[in-house]
Structure formats: structure tokens, C-alpha cells
């Protein structure tokens, strides 16, 4: 069964189409990234799944439970870490976790799990503190714990690492990876493309409410067909290139040569042979494979021209 299935989902805010007929499924147990520029509709999509926003049309389901018709079951299967650092100023961390667990119908029997969460997220020192006395990173951790009180099989994190320092970010990722290893489906949105690139198997890209890409990461990466060859030239080397190569040349710093090559049509071997023939001498070489940044930029840029 799919962890999440979304069918023809649209959301309008007056004239603004925050989501336009989005259709996608997310397999159980996967590590899924939802990317897109600001205002693309990522949070709107997440809020519809969580029941915080109602879609204008279309359907969404969590593990087969429709978010509107079987809302109770759908919500029990879903944990959401919201984008905003929202908190209740009246209660301490422990009280908040206990209340949240109670809202899901779980009483004392759930206490060992709450303690486990507190330890796993390194919150032991802060359990008797109210949230307004915690740093941003700490608040984020409490929000993650709060989303997990009912051990939801599907976990959504909306920009979990926004405003979190590097050390904590690494810690959070290892925690989230651990959840995924235990079988939780993880869905996240992030601005940090490197994060999505290193962690997620499958990626969807939203742009202005439209799904512009939905594919396994490798497939998405292979869609971008250019790579760069960079050469460190020997000081007296001539740099007069044959026309074919000159056309691929890009601006480069003094003493370097930069060529933009097509992944399929330009064979590295042939290019190097042609360079040798032209008498180009180099001391070192690098090939820069495209990353998600390039794919992402290209996809969202194409949309902008449409």
C-alpha cells in the first residue's frame, strides 16, 4: 500500500492557485523529498495531508485512509513537524509531550516511549523548561518529538533544518535516517538541495502549485544532460582549440580551461584526444557531474518561461 496517495489535488485561495491538480504517490518505507521554491505550495500540500487545510478539489489518503472521510485513522498514521516554530507557552516540554500523546488517546502506557523520544532527541536537560526558554534548535527538536508521540508510520517534516546549526543538523538527519531504517516513511521539504540529494531516494519538485518532476533521484539527475570538464593548464600550454571544442568552452579563471559537455554526445575520451591534438597540456583535471541544484534550477526556470 502507498504511504501517501494524492489524486488531482487542487487548492485555491481566492484567485491564487496554491496547488493545481497534483497527482503523486509515495511508497511505504521510502525517504521522499518535496522540493520547490518559496510559495510553491509545499506547506499547503502538507497541511492538506494533515487535515489543517481543506483541498478545493481532489483526494488525499494516508496509508489508504482518506484524509477527509477517514480522518481519525489518517491522523493516527501521520506525524507532522510544522514549518513554523509554534509552541504553547503555558507548558513545559514534558507536559506538552504528555498532552500531545493524550490527544491521540494514549495514556500512561505510552510513557516509556515518550522517555525514549526525550533521550533520542537529547532533551533530558530541558524537560521541565517551558518552550519560550529554549533555543530555536531545541524548539525544533521538541516539535519533532511532539510529532512522534503516537509512533506514526508516516512522518512529514516541513523544512526541519531551517535555522538549525550545522552540528544539530547532522544530528537531526541521523535521527531521521534511523526512523526511516525502522520502517517509517519519511517525507520532507527542504531548501538545502544537498540534503535532499544525499538522503532521499525519490524526489518531487513543485513549482507554483504544479508538480514539475516526480522521479527517483538518479533518474532526475540523469535528466540534466550537461557536465563540466575542468583542466588545470600547464603554464605555457597553447589554448587554441578546434571549432568543435571552442563552441563548448565556458568562461574560466586564468590558467584553467572549462568545457561544457553533453553526457551522451561528447565522449570524454574523444574530447581529451582532440585536446592533445591541439597541443593543449594540462596538469590536472576534474569532471563535475550535475547535482540537484542544476536539475532544480533548470526545471523551475523552464516553468517560469512557460
Amino acid at each position: 500500500m502507498d504511504a501517501v496517495s494524492i489524486d488531482d489535488l487542487s487548492k485555491e485561495y481566492g484567485l491564487l492557485k496554491a496547488l493545481s491538480e497534483v497527482r503523486l504517490t509515495i511508497a511505504e518505507g521510502s525517504f521522499f523529498a518535496l522540493l520547490g521554491p518559496n510559495g510553491a505550495g509545499k506547506s499547503t500540500l502538507i497541511n492538506i495531508l494533515a487535515g489543517l487545510t481543506r483541498a478545493t478539489s481532489g483526494r488525499a489518503a494516508i496509508l489508504g485512509c482518506d484524509v477527509r472521510r477517514q480522518w481519525r485513522k489518517a491522523r493516527r498514521q501521520l506525524g507532522v513537524v510544522p514549518q513554523e516554530l509554534a509552541y504553547d507557552p503555558f507548558f513545559t516540554v514534558r507536559e506538552m509531550l504528555t498532552l500531545q500523546s493524550g490527544y491521540f488517546g494514549l495514556g500512561k502506557e505510552n510513557r516509556p516511549w515518550l522517555n525514549e523520544l526525550i533521550v533520542a532527541l537529547d532533551l533530558e536537560d530541558k524537560i521541565d523548561t517551558t518552550m519560550n526558554h529554549l533555543s530555536g534548535g531545541m524548539k525544533r527538536r521538541v516539535l519533532i518529538a511532539q510529532a512522534l508521540v503516537h509512533r506514526p508510520p508516516v512522518v512529514i517534516l516541513d523544512e526541519p533544518t531551517a535555522g538549525v546549526d550545522v552540528a544539530l543538523r547532522a544530528q537531526l538527519w541521523s535521527f531521521i535516517r534511523g526512523l526511516n531504517a525502522k520502517g517509517h516513511t519519511i517525507i520532507l521539504t527542504t531548501h538545502y538541495l544537498e540534503e535532499a540529494e544525499s538522503m532521499c531516494e525519490k524526489i518531487a519538485i513543485l513549482d507554483r502549485g504544479r508538480l514539475v518532476a516526480l522521479a527517483p533521484k538518479d533518474e532526475l539527475l540523469s535528466r540534466y544532460s550537461w557536465r563540466q570538464l575542468r583542466l588545470q593548464l600547464v603554464p605555457e600550454s597553447p589554448v587554441v582549440l578546434p571549432d568543435v571544442l571552442e563552441a563548448k568552452r565556458q568562461a574560466a579563471p586564468q590558467g584553467e580551461l572549462l568545457l561544457r559537455l553533453h553526457r551522451e554526445h561528447d565522449h570524454i575520451g574523444e574530447v581529451l584526444a582532440a585536446l592533445e591534438q591541439a597541443g593543449v597540456k594540462f596538469s590536472d583535471l576534474w569532471i563535475h557531474e550535475p547535482g540537484l541544484t542544476e536539475v532544480y534550477t533548470e526545471l523551475t526556470a523552464v516553468e517560469n518561461h512557460a
Binding site: 487545510t53 485513522k73 504553547d88 493524550g102 490527544y103 494514549l106
Partner: protein, 254 residues
Amino acid sequence: MPNLYGLYILFAREVWRFLKVFIQTILTPVITVLLYLLIFSSVISSSREMLPGVNYLTFLIPGLMVMAMLQNSFANSSSSLFQSRLNGNVIFMLLAPISDFELYLAFVGAAVVRGVLVGLGVWLASCFFAMVPLRHPLYALLLVFFCCGSLGSLGLVAAIIADKWDHISAFQNFVIVPFSFLSGVFFSISDLPEFWQQASHYNPFFYLVDGFRYTCLGVSEIPVFTSLWVGAGFFVLSSTWALWLLHRGYNLRS
């Protein structure tokens, strides 16, 4: 299947919240009412007969109790929900498997508890001035429930509709307070000019005050059953309004 434990925890949270700041939520309102009691009882001669066999002080106390209950039930649900909306932490209850009706019960339940606690506080304080009897406890319970339940529901309505704190306090200062001052707490409406006497009959608070006074003293300006019916109707209407807004998800699940 209803989430009874979740409902209970949300209710407990609401009660716990106001108990954490009980000086502001219980003590202060009781003291405010105590001041009214001091001022009005010293300005107006206590020997003055308001209703047959009822002096001013005894007349005043049940009315003040109702006024305190009205204002505090409203304050509880409105400030709690609106603050959660402002802080954004309202999403944590909206994410949970708690239905609109369960949310309504939890908030209104807590508003009733706060109203009753403040009402009891006023009664305790009033014992230093005069002992007010309780002649019809069952009717009294019903009226207290209608009174706090209705205002708890209106508090939810205000918290859902409001966009800023100003809106909540406007509702409080321009609706709740004037209606409770004009409900015959401090005077008998038969002392009013004809127009205001008529107008008072459209004020539901008047029925709650007069009805509650009857359950204490056994005398009133209008029959207690009329007050009970109006109270019940008021409760049903305000609850329906709150539940309808919750059902539509207005400003909560937009």
C-alpha cells in the same frame, strides 16, 4: 469511534491552563466583584426592599455571581483558543484525532469549570456580607450550566472569528459587559424607564440573572420556567453557532 481519552486530556489541558494562572483567572475576578459588592452595598441602603422580603445586599449577590460566571466563562474559552491561534500551537490539537464536537466539549467544559469556580469564589466572599440561601439547587445547577455553557460557546465563536486581540476585547467590552450591566444585576428592571424595561426582555442575561436569583431567594420578576427556557434556548443557539464554525473549519482549517 469517539476519542474519549483525547477529549478528556484536552479538557484537562484547558482547566490546567487557567489553574496555572489562577491569580489572574480566579482570584482577580473574585476581587473585582467583591469591590462592586463593597461599593454598591455602601452607596445603596441595605434596608431598601428590592423584591418582596429581599433587601438590596441579598438581591445583589446572586446577580453578581451570575455576572462573574458569564464574564469568566467567556474569557476562558476566548482567550485560550485565540492565544493558541496566535501562537500557532492550535495546530497540535487540530492534528490530533479529535473531532469538532470533542473540541467544543473540552473548551466549553473548561469554561463551565472556570465560571463555576469564580461563581463559588464570589459566593464565599459574599458570606462576609450576607448569607444568601439556595432554595432550588436543581434549577440553580441548570441555570449555571446554561449560563457558563452559552458564554463558553460564545467565547469559542469570538476566538474563531477574531483576527487580533482587539476584536476579543471589543466583544468583551461592547457586548458582554454592557449586556451584563443591563441585565438587572444592580437594580430591578422595574425601576427602569419603560423603554429600557422592554429592551431588557431581549437580553438573555436578564433571564439568567433573574432566574438564578429565584433559585436562591424564591422570588423573581418573571417566572423561573421562562428563565430556564430562555437559558436553554440561548445555550442551544450559541452552541450551534460555535459548532457550525468549527464544522466549517472557519479560520482554523482554512
